[in-house]
Symmetry: C2
Subunit: 103 residues, 2 copies
Amino acid sequence: MRECCDMRGFLSFIVLRLISKKNMSGEDIRKEMKKRKGAKPSPGTIYPVLKALSESGFIQEVKDSGKEKKYKLTKKGQKELKAATRKFCEIFYDMKEEFGRFC
Amino acid sequence: MRECCDMRGFLSFIVLRLISKKNMSGEDIRKEMKKRKGAKPSPGTIYPVLKALSESGFIQEVKDSGKEKKYKLTKKGQKELKAATRKFCEIFYDMKEEFGRFC
DNA sequence: CTACAAATATCGTATATCCGATATTAATAT
DNA sequence: ATATTAATATCGGATATACGATATTTGTAG
């Protein structure tokens, strides 16, 4: 249901955010996470997420040269991301100060 | 290990943040979540988190009149919150714009 | 065409959220 | 003292992260 406080969609949220900025493959995402966090998520983490997001119709494969499989956001995915962002901000509306201090 | 991208500590993160601002009981936290999200987390969600946080030494019961059991952050909890905030900002450093638009 | 390597896919396992339901505790009202 | 009620605690069950290991696909080099 994910009605109330379910924080379990955060990895999907992050992936959606990344893909929304630039078409990305699983490897692209893993590299970006490494840049941000210092460690790559394991393949067993990222590919199932991509699959689920794809099956939900939020992302879509893009034809591309090379062996990578790039994804782009669908219309549905854009709506989902917007809704998720709103929720995120409702929970963390008071993070602004910390963003100033830590980021 | 929660080394890389484990987003599964977010509820604890939120609870730690709330308690850091004001000593709070489980009910206080549920009410605050309702204010932010429109729905209360179920008791089965919040009390186990409080218990785990307490057993980890991050929060501590405070004597209080009334039937509520208020918690405060411990020194260890303060350190944990600071570290968690830093991690949070590393992942979401590019949320500033959205914070402007949505919050 | 074949070998290689990179990217992707899948599997088994573990833990952290989550919920609803039920039980317990404890302050208060009668 | 007992009943009421709010707060807390616990339980069973579900799903979303996570990992490491293994398998499969696919582009490229030879």
